[in-house]
Amino acid sequence: MTFLAELLISLCLVIGGIFGLVGSWGLIKLQDTMQRLHAPTKATTLGVGGVLVASVLYFLLIKGSFSFHELLITLFLFLTAPITANFIAKTFIARNRRPDDLPGTERKHGWAIFDDPPQPPDPPADADRS
């Protein structure tokens, strides 16, 4: 049983380490900034998730105590990784692309980086009559 637990924890650690290394290697291997955005935001987040799962299993199975802290970190990282990726992509587009380089949005409003946000519709004229 202890051997099985150790095997599981080691597997999580090795998988997490490989994913983290792949994410960081993709950061220097890929050619374009928009391509480079893929590797760290997905692979590295998954690798850290693997390490945190290994930590939860280690304290649960070997030390015999369960703690929520690692799950909180995992949740926080998985929530914030898409937001940071979106911000970095917006920064890149705002610095390096002209508005006519981008494809149309097929809506009334253009890209949110270059255009003002759409105004809220006017309230109906008889809204406060009752």
């Binding site: 290394l21 950061l27 304290f59 940071t84 917006k90």
Partner: protein, 89 residues
């Protein structure tokens, strides 16, 4: 077996930090540098958690949580500064 896997994971994330440093120095654009800093923060979180497993204490999770929060806020602030020229409008 766990100690060998720990050494392997330490090596992976340490090498990853070196790769991020290369991209941080080389990066032709501001977005690359922000991305490299964000990845460095994530790698540091992983290293802190691994160190917590190595020492067998739960103290380092508080540090990892703080690093995660500060890293997210600093990434957003840096992107915001490059985008709008101001952080809080």
């Amino acid at each position: 077996m766990i100690s060998a896997a720990l050494v392997f994971a330490f090596g992976c994330y340490g090498l990853g930090l070196v790769f991020n440093l290369i991209r941080l120095v080389k990066g032709p654009d501001d977005a690359d540098r922000i991305l490299a800093l964000d990845t460095m923060v994530i790698n540091v979180i992983a290293l802190l958690v691994l160190y917590g497993i190595l020492r067998g204490t739960g103290v380092y999770y508080e540090a990892a949580m703080l690093v995660a929060m500060v890293g997210f806020v600093s990434t957003v602030a840096y992107s915001r500064f490059v985008l709008r020229g101001d952080i809080i409008e």
